[in-house]
């Protein structure tokens, strides 16, 4: 069953348009939502969390915002690239707000995360470090029943240990098969570790949405000398990068095996994304 269904999402801003974005995410999976700065990632995520209004329809676990806004918002847990808590409040006040608004909020679980991550109870949020703020956002969403976590650059700027712990938490979150994560990040290494699906967006348009395995099996990273490049071969290459010593590009195995003499290797998600975006420039 699809937990998240996005259909024909469109939004126009001066100089930018999100164009007919459609995708679905089944329960129990993590989707990486990637693209360059300004590609439309945050616009899409803001539409899903209903921070911005877009044309199109969005359903979370079969619920549309227009039909039941409270249930829809209860189903979402959002972690942004910066803390969204009112900076003048302290942790106790945040707990009180969450208790007032979320019917499934469990204060004892929230306290468990607070103790585990040693977050100061009385200090104002504005005094928290970036890592502490991210932990607080995670504590607030993991201590209630959500169906979908929406993460917008949530792991940026975190130290490797915290990042590792958070990636572990995300995998644990989806482990019962009833919940999903939509994860926008520039750290594609994180997606390599935990994502099941990759969605690439560029200039407001969907480029692809495939399983990670399918992507890794579709492309090869090709390297060779400049003398090997013929105009015909160039046409088959994706995101060709030439330098003084040779070239590097992606090659789709759908075109058959790469020509003999070229070095080929399995690319990383990072390399696939970079070469595809390079190819579209």
């Amino acid at each position: 069953m699809n937990l998240l269904e996005v259909a024909h999402l469109s939004k126009k801003y001066p100089g930018f348009a999100l164009q007919d974005i459609s995708f679905s995410l089944p329960s129990g999976y993590i989707m990486g939502y990637v693209g360059q700065n300004g590609a439309g990632k945050t616009t899409t995520l803001n539409a899903i969390t209903h921070l911005n209004h877009c044309e199109g329809t969005i359903q979370i676990d079969g619920i549309q915002y227009e039909n039941d806004p409270v249930k829809y918002l209860e189903a979402i847990g959002f972690v942004g690239d910066s803390s969204y808590f009112p900076e003048d409040l302290n942790l106790r006040q945040i707990r009180s707000i969450l208790k007032d608004f979320y019917s499934t909020f469990r204060p004892e679980e929230f306290d468990h995360y607070v103790k585990h991550w040693r977050l100061p109870e009385r200090a104002r949020i504005k005094g928290f470090s970036r890592g502490m703020k991210v932990k607080l956002m995670f504590a607030s969403i993991l201590s209630r029943d959500t169906k979908l976590l929406v993460l917008d650059e949530a792991t940026n700027g975190l130290d490797p240990m915290v990042r590792k712990e958070i990636l572990g938490l995300l995998q644990e979150y989806i482990s019962d098969g009833s919940r999903s994560v939509l994860f926008s990040t520039h750290i594609l290494e994180d997606l390599e570790q935990i994502a099941d699906f990759i969605f690439l967006i560029n200039e407001g348009k969907k480029i692809f949405c495939d399983t990670k395995e399918e992507l890794l099996e579709t492309y090869l990273l090709i390297k060779g000398g400049r003398e090997d490049l013929t105009p015909e071969l160039k046409k088959q290459l994706i995101g060709l990068e030439e330098n003084a010593f040779g070239f590097e590009a992606l090659y789709s195995v759908k075109n058959g095996l790469p020509p003999a003499g070229w070095l080929s290797a399995k690319p990383s998600i990072d390399q696939i994304v970079v070469h595809i975006i390079e190819d579209m420039r």
Binding site: H50, L51, N52, P69, L73, S82, Y84, F85, P86
Partner: protein, 215 residues
């Protein structure tokens, strides 16, 4: 219920603006120093403090913090209705504190007549409309040129204050006292009832505008 919860968040932030409680105290001092000043000045000063303070806890909120409020499960625009509810609580508190201050002053100057209910009602209702205008300005201008917005937002409060002072100054002139008498007697009841209704309409308009604008 959710609207009340949103107002509660503004109260949590009010701690930093507790200085507005000084306005009634200040009004006591000023009225005691000027024996010719009528007692309603206490209420006027206190309501002025309320108008200044009624939108401060949320007027300077960041886009991210506003996003947090919008993510909380509720109906569209409830966060804005919550701000309006908070502001009305502040004005009620200011009215009560202003009246308390006037009673304190009267202990020392028993010759002064009590503030009439008409005057209180009218001043309160008028202050509510000014707060409503400020809150609408907040909805329209939020996240744009922060300093200019603060100035524009506080303008109604100062108009209220200086308007009140001018009223006090000219109330004794025959032409003005006739107008004042008309407002304070037959018109006051209508205005006292109309202003809160206008305030409710402004809250609804603010909620609708905020929903339409998005974050």
């Amino acid at each position: 219920m959710k609207i009340l919860n949103y107002a509660k968040i503004d109260f949590m932030k009010l701690k930093d603006y507790a200085w507005f409680l000084l306005f009634p105290v200040l009004s006591c001092v000023l009225v005691l120093q000027d024996p010719s000043a009528p007692l309603y000045v206490c209420v006027l000063y206190s309501l002025f403090g309320g108008v200044v303070c009624a939108s401060l806890p949320f007027a300077s909120e960041t886009r991210a913090a506003a996003g947090f409020l919008q993510l909380l499960p509720s109906r569209d625009g409830d966060n804005i209705r919550g701000h309006f509810l908070f502001s009305s609580f502040i004005q009620i508190t200011s009215l009560v504190l202003g009246l308390a201050a006037s009673f304190v002053v009267r202990l020392f100057q028993p010759q002064l007549p009590f503030v009439s209910l008409n005057t209180c009602g009218l001043m309160f209702s008028f202050s509510l409309v000014l707060v409503g205008i400020q809150n609408l300005m907040y909805v329209i201008f939020r996240y744009q040129a922060a300093k200019a917005v603060v100035f524009i937002r506080l303008l109604p409060a100062f108009l209220f204050f200086y308007g009140g002072l001018l009223t006090n100054k000219y109330l004794t002139t025959p032409a003005f006292s006739d107008i004042a008498a008309w407002i304070l007697n037959p018109g006051s009841l209508i205005l006292t009832v109309l202003c809160p209704i206008l305030y409710l309409l402004m809250a609804q308009a603010g909620a609708a505008l905020s929903t339409r604008k998005g974050l």
